[in-house]
Assembly symmetry: C2
Homo-oligomer: 378 residues x 2
């Protein structure tokens, strides 16, 4: 009895000393992988050793995130060969030329097929590092260590990697699943408020797509999130990843349901692309795109004006912009046409039947699209 | 009875008028696809309509093959939107920059996800067009129309796509299976003799890997092949594709058996890379690599000297070079180390226990490798 008691006490001590780690799994058969969410994960050598394979690591970060977290992460990664690449910060650098630079570093260091690329940063770093991993030697392992809310709730999960082309966003890329996603919520403490708000746009998206309860929770708790309340942030990261993992698990390559995750994105990508990727953060453009999708759903007779207004109020409370007066409807329409969601010449859109109920369609009145663009643009 | 007789006669007429098409299937579940082998396939509108999907086609060819066959193929493709890209001919142009150019054309023409890339040419065209298809919008369809023996027996089948890097061959790429392979044996009539011989090196490889009977058949029929005998060529194309399809079907992403297809390639790639991809044709380098692998197998005590000599005689009768006196063993060894077959720092090689019996190993005496390099290099 005495021995058993001691063991139990040790277990309790361990629980008290180490913060709780939330673990989800993206179920994709032999390509399944865990998402770890919690505080202090960057320096948890035990977890990093278990989830980051390989003796040779390419640590990809950027000039903003690197100085804050690269040293801590390297410490946690222990005794391996680590080559670091620091990319310039920002969507404007998300190009094939930047990926080519990473590939040069992999070759120059004679990295073999069993190396691992570790992406430390936001969505831009993750998308590019993942694409470099997809292309190097026809695919090596990579691990996402997202440091922005947007990357933690969305871009780090699901295996979409790639870069922009002057003609459109994410037009070049690959589906390549990571080996693990390690989301350390502590990194959000240094996130600029504007980027936190941009990430919350993607969280609102999950509520609209699939979870009315999450949407209501956001209406009730937005101030806690904006104040960086760690429990509130952990809740929305976990719930967002659950929804995304579930959708990706049943439609990895976007043949069906996965397209729902593009709610607001066809509009948003066009805003980003038409303004040269410099004016709008991706999440901000998605936020405005969400309202455009809701307006469009209303214009098509699917969604009540009251639901559109609830969304508008939530976006405004989040501090997100909802219009772009410097662009004309024609310009944005032209940019929408090159988006990947176009099928046989017709733009496919995700629309809403209510908050929490979305669907993909190419069957809508063209004048509803026109009126939607006119309502939000100059 | 009269009606039945007429139908049978019509069927016989049809068989007489249209040359026989050999069809194999690469079995990969939802990604399975056919390989069609035969005479006159380029202009068979019925087959092309059935096997090439999409309304918008990017026809990729090169400045040598395009003038010979592009017009005929376009005729066969019928009433679709076809944009043609003609690449400079040769392995030296197999770069990320060339693929980037194809992606620019896809974007500039607003091609959507349901377009198809058609690769008309040899291995270089097929590898690059396939990689562009893999990367555009995270993957669009492509069809291989190989016009060299090497492409028909090897590179067009199996979904390996990619480009070279100054630091090594095929270091950047993707696994992306075609929707179909259409091998028209008539295109071999215009193939320069040197390229025919280079393609035969890959055929000899299949005999060495897995099929002693094919090797013996080659010993008995090499002169027919070198004289472009259509039946002999069809026989080796079909048999090579059968062996490759079977191996790819059980190991798509080279986790195991598929590595056997690299027999001679680690040596061969190093010869190509160390001479800047200008001196050796790929198939020629593979031919020399086959003899190096056999020599190495003998040096490691696995293969009799008599077998090595039979291979040397067959390569010489094929008109293939077997040594490179301008390179030192150290230079070639350095280039071998960056090859994709390196695992945890050790070069993995495909070796032979006899003709038709091969295996992958990293467990060999280093001095056997050294003696092999010294025997074939300067």
């Amino acid at each position: 009895m005495g021995a058993r008691y001691t063991a139990a006490a040790a277990f309790l001590d361990f629980r008290a000393a180490v913060p709780r780690v939330n673990t989800l799994t993206v179920e994709l058969g032999s390509r399944s992988y865990p998402i770890l969410i919690g505080s202090g994960l960057l320096t948890r050598a035990d977890l990093l050793a278990r989830h980051i394979p390989g003796r040779d690591l390419l640590l990809v970060t950027n000039t903003t995130v690197g100085p804050l977290y690269a040293a801590a992460l390297k410490q946690g990664l222990g005794d391996r060969r680590i080559v670091e690449v620091s990319l310039p910060d920002g969507e404007a650098h998300k190009t094939l030329a930047t990926v080519s630079r990473m590939l040069d570093v992999l070759v120059a260091n004679r990295f073999s097929r069993d190396c691992t690329v570790v992406a430390l940063g936001g969505g831009v770093v993750g998308d590019m590092a993942g694409f470099a991993a997809a292309c190097y030697q026809r695919g090596v392992a990579y691990v996402q260590v997202p440091t922005t809310l947007l990357a933690q709730v969305d871009s780090s999960v699901g295996g979409k990697t790639g870069v922009n082309h002057p003609g459109g966003k994410n037009l070049i890329g690959a589906f390549h699943q990571p080996s693990a996603v390690v989301a350390d919520t502590d990194t959000l403490k240094t996130l600029p408020p504007r980027e936190l708000r941009a990430g919350l746009a993607e969280v609102i998206k999950y509520g609209l797509i699939d979870d009315a309860a999450l949407f209501v929770w956001l209406e009730e708790n937005m101030e806690r999130l904006l104040a960086h309340d760690p429990d509130a942030l952990t809740h929305v990261i976990r719930r967002s990843c659950e929804i995304k993992a579930s959708i990706v698990g049943r439609d990895e390559r976007e043949q069906g349901d996965r397209a729902l995750l593009n709610l607001g994105h066809t509009f948003g990508h066009a805003l980003e692309s038409a303004t040269g990727y410099t004016k709008w953060l991706h999440g901000e453009a998605v936020g405005a795109g969400l309202l455009m999708a809701a307006t469009m759903s209303h214009e098509a007779g699917l969604l009540s004006a009251e639901m559109v207004e609830r969304l508008r109020r939530l976006l405004e409370r989040t501090g997100l912009p909802t219009e772009e007066r410097s662009l004309t409807p024609d310009t944005v329409l032209e940019h929408m046409r090159i988006d990947k969601k176009v099928k046989s010449g017709r733009i496919r859109l995700v629309l809403l039947r209510s908050i929490g109920a979305s669907f993909v369609t190419a069957d809508y009145p063209d004048d509803a699209l026109r009126r939607t663009l006119e309502a939000h643009l100059g």
